[in-house]
Symmetry: C2
Subunit: 526 residues, 2 copies
Amino acid sequence: MEWKNLDQLDHYHQLQEYAGKVSLKTVMSGENGASRVAAYQVGMGGGLTYNYASKQVDDQILSCLCGLAKEAGLSDKYQELYNGAVINTGEKRRVLHQLTRGQIGDDVIADGVNKRAFYVEQQTRIAEFARNVHEGKIVNEKGEKFTTAVQIGIGGSDLGPRAMYLSLENWARKNGCFHMEAKFISNVDPDDAASVLASVDPSRCIFILVSKSGTTLETLTNEAFVKDALKNAGLDASRHMIAVTSETSPLASSSDYLAAFFMDDYIGGRYSSTSAVGGAVLSLAFGPDVFARFLNGAAEGDALANEKDPLKNAAMLDALIGVYERNILGYPATAVLPYSQALSRFPAHLQQLDMESNGKSVNRFGEPVDYPTGPVIFGEPGTNGQHSFYQLLHQGTDVVPLQFIGFRNNQTGVDVDIQGSTSQQKLCANVAAQIMAFACGKADENRNKNFEGNRPSSIIIGDQLTPEALGALLSHFENKVMFQGFLWNLNSFDQEGVQLGKILAKRVLAHDTEGALKAYSDLLNI
Amino acid sequence: MEWKNLDQLDHYHQLQEYAGKVSLKTVMSGENGASRVAAYQVGMGGGLTYNYASKQVDDQILSCLCGLAKEAGLSDKYQELYNGAVINTGEKRRVLHQLTRGQIGDDVIADGVNKRAFYVEQQTRIAEFARNVHEGKIVNEKGEKFTTAVQIGIGGSDLGPRAMYLSLENWARKNGCFHMEAKFISNVDPDDAASVLASVDPSRCIFILVSKSGTTLETLTNEAFVKDALKNAGLDASRHMIAVTSETSPLASSSDYLAAFFMDDYIGGRYSSTSAVGGAVLSLAFGPDVFARFLNGAAEGDALANEKDPLKNAAMLDALIGVYERNILGYPATAVLPYSQALSRFPAHLQQLDMESNGKSVNRFGEPVDYPTGPVIFGEPGTNGQHSFYQLLHQGTDVVPLQFIGFRNNQTGVDVDIQGSTSQQKLCANVAAQIMAFACGKADENRNKNFEGNRPSSIIIGDQLTPEALGALLSHFENKVMFQGFLWNLNSFDQEGVQLGKILAKRVLAHDTEGALKAYSDLLNI
């Protein structure tokens, strides 16, 4: 396997000749535009389709991107990854989150264990635990059923599971599989834990402590905060807490917990939604069957990401177009715009997934790279964003590529018909309209009302945000980010950039500071 | 008053000579760093301080920025604005949101009315209404007290009020002035209204319909959605709804509402949190006295923004440094990072305020500008963000300027001491540590663990997030954005960029489409 920097690849230099070649105003006009919408799409699994008609590409650029994919060995690297190679070279770890939801390639034996079997075993244990809770076999001190699951975790132990929970909450209520409400405590700000605790009946809560190492400052602090509150309420904390951690962590065998479920070092936090990290809370909230359907959607996405032809591989194609936009067209940010209120926190999850994976300046050999890597990722649900930051997206001085997401049907089934259309139709009409407004713009003599157009977007379309669709959506972005990491020649699986702050924070708390750090600490009364 | 483009100003060209002059690694090291932290700060009102020690400026650059402020006539333009000039030239409107919270300059008489008196009158009417609700003089059909306020609005009628509500919710509970819970319905996605309605007892709700024009698609649709639900529950909608709108809107005198409170065309949505748009929901939730304290904080900020010397004017200084970063140093985005869970949605509000105001490519005369204007704004609370996108901020290929916000004390007063420090101390230690990690970095032979440093940030510090502090914080950013608009010679008060999408969406719903727009509409089953 050859690992080369992006600018060592011939197709990258060829691509530079195409910059500015495609005018969306031209190619998306008239019947040609309709043909592009029909042609430029590919299935993603989970009933989803990735449509890239409004990206600044044409057949020639796509062909060059396919060449780039081959030259960079994207499929081979993906295959190495899922077959268990030590892709995370910095930390000398395999990258195995995909085994939590299926097996595309070989058995992966690590530390003497078949890892797929290990992850499935954890799912089975969680499923049994969740069913026992739902059926009232595991109850509180008074024999009452638990009604609420409260996840204590931060970063990947919070953002992904929280986004997934919110994505399926209404769907589960509508479909008769809403078992328990879930809440989340993440921030070390004590007001976070205090306000969540004030909103629940602690005697009916199961707290899920999630920390791979068992040493995360925020999570251990919030655990202590919660234990304090339980004690003050006369409750036995060990009857209200479970742990999700690695088998070697101090939490793994503690009698402080009702049960412990395991992950390992081969699953990074931001890739852990389909592991026990997401599995415990989602199985408690919606039942193991819904969690299994979510995993099936992700497995379907993973299998499609194994297609060698980028035109049949949505994740790979999205990655290639993104690199074209970032490195050839020079766009610094990407907006994620789901037209679905249920996906309100999905952009925050992608923000971590993408920016933490590929926000790096050195390649996998520790050498500085000479090109931009991961962009800033941000977003809010539409139509809300339309009444907020879309002004800049339409008429600002920077072009920001857009990732729309839309569904034909809503989740609750409740809707209202006003002036001849439902709310869901209005929602969908808006996303279609926005794509075209961005692509083609509209000339106006009053330049203040002029829209330049030529602002690229893609859209992911599905029938409904179901567990399968959500799984495929998650898998798409995980695989996209990994393919982009391969193209930029980065290690997308470590996060050394978060270390220095932790070290300095410890010094502040130990009052071992001087100079400006002491001055700031004094201003903050620490 | 002279309105010139930024690149027509002499000091702008002088500034370009200073690019790269200040190495934060150098100036923030040792005792010099401590001196900068002590010297480079200015009061903001509401007990807040703006500290810019870790920005890439020195006395020479600051002096040039002061020259730029004078050359651009920032103080004169601010004075013109608050004295009622038609600053919003595109829409031929005055810009008067500051009168909702004080009067710095002359009386402003418009349409035959003293506008300050008009805004105060609305506050008084809202205060009386809120007291009547709290005291049980205005009740539901069964004579029961209302317990919940549900705001129906989008954009500025949602983001600002929602962010302010969340900012003070815990504070109000702690300080005995939490009267009613508030909820918000914004998205035209029917699942938004459906899930909010499922979470409340509609018979105990007051719905606040907020739309200046009375014609906003999303808001009217959600009003119909809610009325439908109220009717199905056997309730009389007109006993559960109030309107916040302009006096000329169809909602103003409708018998469908318990009461109507007024705003006008001189207050843009994104600047409306201190008008009736924020006033109704915040007065109902926390009482009129808390809302008045919030206004006082904003008034204090506005008065400080009237200081001619930028070194005594935090909003102006922040604006100047931001333009230096955007136009001289070429940074494309800014992150807002509040170390306070209560400010969880404050970045989303700033995203609208900033990006909708200054995300523009033509100057106030409709001529294209030749320089970048408003940056992308995004952010999440710390320490959460540290476990997410900070990797890119520390080690990514783009430099992103950072706006930290921190408070010495939390709001709930609840805390826990672990390993010799409270959660609040850990929170503050982290923000101090981050600033220094970004500024000075840390050399490491393993380049993967190397931190380049030289990543600029500022921090706003307060004792506690009180109503006054929140008001000053809001005012700071409103005034900063306006000053930047003056520097870029933009009209920061219109939003023509949102129009085209609305027009095309109507065509989709009328099935009046062809080409790609029709193709997308078909894919979405509209």
